[in-house]
Symmetry: C2
Subunit: 207 residues, 2 copies
DNA sequence: GTCTATAGGCAGATAGAC
DNA sequence: GTCTATCTGCCTATAGAC
């Protein structure tokens, strides 16, 4: 859930600034509820200039999802590299979503998932890829943690990963719909309680 | 999750047909991705005629959410009236969402929750009410079931209710975004497994 | 790469006849 | 209550000068 620096480039230059602005607009309003005029205004150039960087809105959308996927994976790898404890990794994973929510945004691909039926076809495959990669990473972290004993759960790591992603995305959605951000924290608490290893007593959520 | 007959009226007449069509369009495409022209075409009247029934799109939106809330509550009461076993009630509750998903739709208020930032203000309060009523009902069913011993869970009924709603909404969202409807069934299985009472061996999901 | 100007279409909404 | 006709404004996108 970016909004942080990443290993990949694409964040500098006009194209990068356009993507930054468009990403925020998608996360707050959705793909069908922002226009080139909105982006142009926020970036400080004219509408027509946007078309030089992204010929069509569909092109912009594809670039948006592609960058988001890479950026998100970078963040996951960073969590993996800087935390060796399974449960702590999951806390930090959940906190990614919490930070986005508190920034007034929805997970970009969660937002796009709800717009799916109306999106240009090339975007849809990339959105599905986001969820697949996300669950793959989570699944691996869960399996390793279970083996090491610093994460607890029943059933397959893959289905647990799918469950976690759904709960967090749904938690964000319902919190935004209810206008009650604490709702999300309750969901995270309950989710983490189910995977917390018997002995550990790590404090929940930092931000 | 309607698309079924309800005790309340509002389903007959031109206004009712307009609401039926608009409801489907919102559930499939979202509030910002359908037009009066779409509705008029599907209903078989002219755009201008729609304004006689719902002067503005905001008015249509408010009527849509209000009817949906009442209709949904009717369905919940019907589950409560025709199932006396707690776990079975939860199975039927989850199945409501599954049926909507398999119809190619999203929960209407889940969809509207993602559109929230762009919606006319009068709609937002009503959407929040939907989630509150929904969780209230679920909370009561959970508390009763726990007391009777035909539902199991830790923590408060209210937080468990919030968790269930989030997981189901998120399950629908991610399933649609992944293009994999089985994803949702896995989420439901895992969710129900956590509330299943020790002795019972009810089969999961009927539809 | 950015600009001005504009095309062509669709959005939500209104006026007024029947 | 439904129609035809129309308004105004915004949308995505393009042409062509600088």
């Amino acid at each position: 859930m970016p909004t942080k620096k990443s290993t990949t480039p694409d964040r500098a230059g006009t194209a990068g600034r356009i993507l930054d602005v468009a990403e925020r607009l998608v996360q707050v309003r959705g793909f069908n509820a922002f226009s080139y005029a909105d982006v142009a205004k926020a970036v400080g150039i004219q509408k027509a200039s946007l078309h030089h960087h992204f010929a069509t809105k569909a092109d912009l959308g594809v670039a948006l999802v592609t960058r988001y996927r890479h950026s998100f994976l970078d963040t996951l790898r960073s969590i993996e590299a800087t935390s060796s404890h399974g449960f702590e990794r999951l806390e930090r994973y959940a906190d990614l979503y919490g930070k986005v929510l508190r920034a007034g945004r929805m997970c970009m691909c969660g937002m796009l998932a709800s717009d799916a039926a109306t999106l240009p076809k090339p975007m849809r495959g990339s959105i599905a890829e986001f969820f697949a990669e996300n669950e793959e990473w989570l699944s691996r972290i869960l399996a390793e943690g279970k083996k090491r004993g610093d994460i607890t759960f029943d059933g397959s790591a893959a289905s647990m990963a799918a469950f976690i992603v759904s709960s967090l995305e749904g938690g964000m959605l319902v919190s935004r719909g209810s206008g009650d951000l604490d709702h999300f924290d309750d969901v995270v608490d309950r989710l983490l309680e189910r995977v917390r290893p018997a002995k550990t007593k790590t404090k929940r959520r930092s931000g």
